[in-house]
């Protein structure tokens, strides 16, 4: 396995207690796999993405391990993680607009970043230019300031930057949320391209948009309230979702061609539980139409079909 996460727990320390943003998450990502990590706000997907690269502020690594290519990642130790960041694990942040220092020319920014990892810009310059052209950016962009680029261009620049040293694991954290639909398609396809050209080995694509994950991911993990709800190969998830949450979520997505007059879509009533003091057992229990008494006990994440995992008593 390229990435192996085992019972990972990352909590936020706050005035009112610990927010259990990630509460026992286990999964693996194979070499060359592009996994879509989908869920709504508050499910823990961004926390997961950040845990794998840089715990910040009030996040605390409470339990569990992360292994990349057989080596354990010291995610709790900021300094020790430094030698992994950018070289083996890299992240494309959500708002590329703020990811680049506005007072630096982009070329200078790249040079400094590489220098911090002991790589000279001159050595990788040719590869850099090649990748820039691949995403549709002219090499002259290195002489510009970030403010001279449009949102989509900045996003693509950051993508090239984050993958320049061919990391084993790439985390793309909501990279398309702020983009127009056509740019979104270009950026999403570029991620697939990077994987196909072996610029990155495995990718975790974090998004709230299931239909977008459907387009490019090999398999999709659905998260809810800090835990994994379901995981399956993309087509299987779309065709035969097993977890009630996934099913309700999929049926709440308006599609081109679906009209209010013809078919009334339904949302999921209620809202996710507070992670400050989460309920015991299955966290979807309060909103689930299929809940039974047994749901007071946390269902295990079991394989119910080849490569298809569900955490639900009813589904397994």
């Amino acid at each position: 396995m390229s990435l192996r996460v085992d019972n990972l727990k990352v909590w936020y320390r706050t005035l009112r207690g610990d927010v259990r943003a990630l509460d026992g998450v286990s999964f693996g990502v194979a070499d060359g796999e592009l996994v879509g990590l989908a869920g709504e706000s508050g499910c823990g997907k961004s926390t997961l993405g950040k845990s794998l690269t840089r715990l910040d502020g009030r996040m605390r690594h409470v339990g569990g391990t992360v292994e990349l290519d057989g080596k354990e990642l010291p995610i709790g130790d900021h300094a020790a993680m430094n030698r992994f960041r950018f070289k083996e694990v890299s992240i494309i942040p959500q708002y590329a607009m703020s990811a680049m220092n506005p007072t630096r020319r982009i070329g200078r920014l790249v040079a400094e970043l590489l220098a911090s990892r002991g790589v000279r810009l001159a050595d990788v310059h040719q590869e850099l230019v090649r990748r820039l052209e691949l995403v549709g950016l002219a090499p002259e962009v290195l002489d510009r300031y970030p403010i001279e680029l449009s949102g989509g261009m900045k996003q693509r620049m950051v993508m090239v930057l984050s993958t320049l040293l061919n990391p084993s694991l790439l985390i793309a954290d909501e990279v398309t949320s702020a983009l127009d639909v056509s740019t979104q398609k270009a950026v999403a396809e570029t991620l697939v391209d990077f994987r196909d050209r072996h610029y990155v080995k495995s990718t975790v694509f974090i998004t709230h948009d299931l239909s977008l994950a459907y387009q490019i991911a090999d398999s999709i993990i659905v998260m809810y309230a800090g835990r994994l709800a379901e995981r399956a190969p993309t087509d299987a998830l779309a065709a035969t979702p097993r977890h009630p949450y996934t099913r309700m979520l999929l049926s709440a997505l308006p599609e081109v061609g679906v009209r209010y007059a013809d078919r009334r879509l339904r949302g999921i009533p209620g809202s996710p539980p507070s992670l400050l003091d989460p309920p015991t057992g299955c966290r979807f229990r309060d909103r689930c139409p299929l809940a039974i008494a047994k749901c007071a006990e946390q269902p295990p994440f079991l394989e119910v079909a080849p490569e298809h995992f569900v955490a639900c008593w009813k589904a397994s």
Partner: protein, 311 residues
């Protein structure tokens, strides 16, 4: 933190299980009153500063009542050291330094209040108007602000002093107020700009509210902590400026102030003569009051700004 992180963190810390996309800013601001009071009571800087200022205020209120003579009366032997009879000693002419100090404190606080208050009002009016209206109004007000900023206050004061024979505390306070507002206007303008683009301002317009009503009832309350701190800084600044003006002899021609005490002390060679009790109390008094005000300001910043608080 990314938007989704903030969502996760705030979603989980909301009082009720809710908040699909809450931000920590709204969490802390709205619970602000209660939390602010809680932190205010525990903030050492705030308490220390407040204690010092209130102590001096008490002295200013009560001190003159403890002496039965005026500050300028010749009541004792000249150049006496502090003793049980003359707590702060006497001046070169036999005036009671303590009486002068207590009366001086009064005028100091008066100048701070008047001068600081006037500057606050001018700064707020100009800042809010420029920030809310934008466009030409903003450009004109900016020009006015810059001009006032650049005027050499001292030169103007010297000219005024030449023409006015008798000067009082109130004119001095007004003068200070008229020249110390530019930074306030700038800061308020900047904040108003950013608040103005928020949707609740648009919604207020859709509710039929006019510009003034929006500034007073929607924008200013959002900045209430900042406005409060601004006033404290202006108060301290006015005290300092008044002391400086008095020290170089441009202060009120009647009455007593701390700066005037120091002026007299220097004029009558208190330093070479070793009459430390004449200039140390006023100097220390000004330093402590202004210093305490600034420390209070830092403390208030920690109280109002949740990000600066220690967890």
């Amino acid at each position: 933190m990314t938007v989704s992180d903030r969502e996760e963190l705030a979603a989980a810390t909301a009082a009720t299980p809710a908040a699909t996309a809450a931000t920590p800013a709204t969490v802390s601001v709205a619970r602000g009153r209660r939390e602010a009071l809680y932190f205010a009571r525990r903030n050492r800087k705030l308490l220390l500063g407040l204690t010092v200022v209130l102590a001096f205020l008490a002295l200013a209120a009560v001190g003159p009542l403890l002496t039965d003579h005026g500050p300028n009366e010749y009541v004792g032997p000249p150049a006496q050291r502090p003793s049980s009879q003359w707590w702060f000693g006497t001046t070169m002419f036999g005036q009671d330094v303590f009486a002068q100090f207590a009366h001086g404190l009064r005028s100091t606080f008066l100048v701070g209040l008047l001068g600081g208050g006037l500057a606050a009002v001018i700064g707020m009016v100009i800042g809010f108007t420029a920030g809310y209206r934008g466009g030409v109004v903003d450009e004109v007000l900016n020009m006015v602000t810059n001009v006032v900023l650049v005027i050499p206050t001292l030169a103007v004061l010297l000219i005024i002093a030449t023409y006015l024979r008798v000067r009082g505390v109130v004119p001095e306070a007004i003068f200070i107020g008229l020249f110390s507002w530019p930074w306030v206007a700038r800061a308020i303008r900047a904040q108003t700009f950013s608040l103005r683009s928020r949707d609740f301002v648009d919604l207020a317009r859709l509710s039929g509210a006019g510009g003034t009503r929006i500034v007073v009832r929607e924008i200013a309350p959002n900045m209430s902590s900042y406005l409060f701190m601004t006033f404290i800084l202006l108060f301290g600044g006015a005290v300092l400026t008044a002391a400086m003006l008095d020290f170089i002899g441009l202060g009120p021609t009647d009455g007593m102030s701390l700066g005037l005490m120091m002026n007299n002390a220097v004029l009558w060679s208190a330093l070479p003569l070793g009459m430390w009790w004449w200039f140390v109390p006023p100097g220390l008094g000004i330093t402590m009051i202004v210093g305490a005000l600034y420390i209070m300001n830092v403390g208030l910043d920690e109280v109002f700004n949740p990000k600066l608080r220690e967890l």
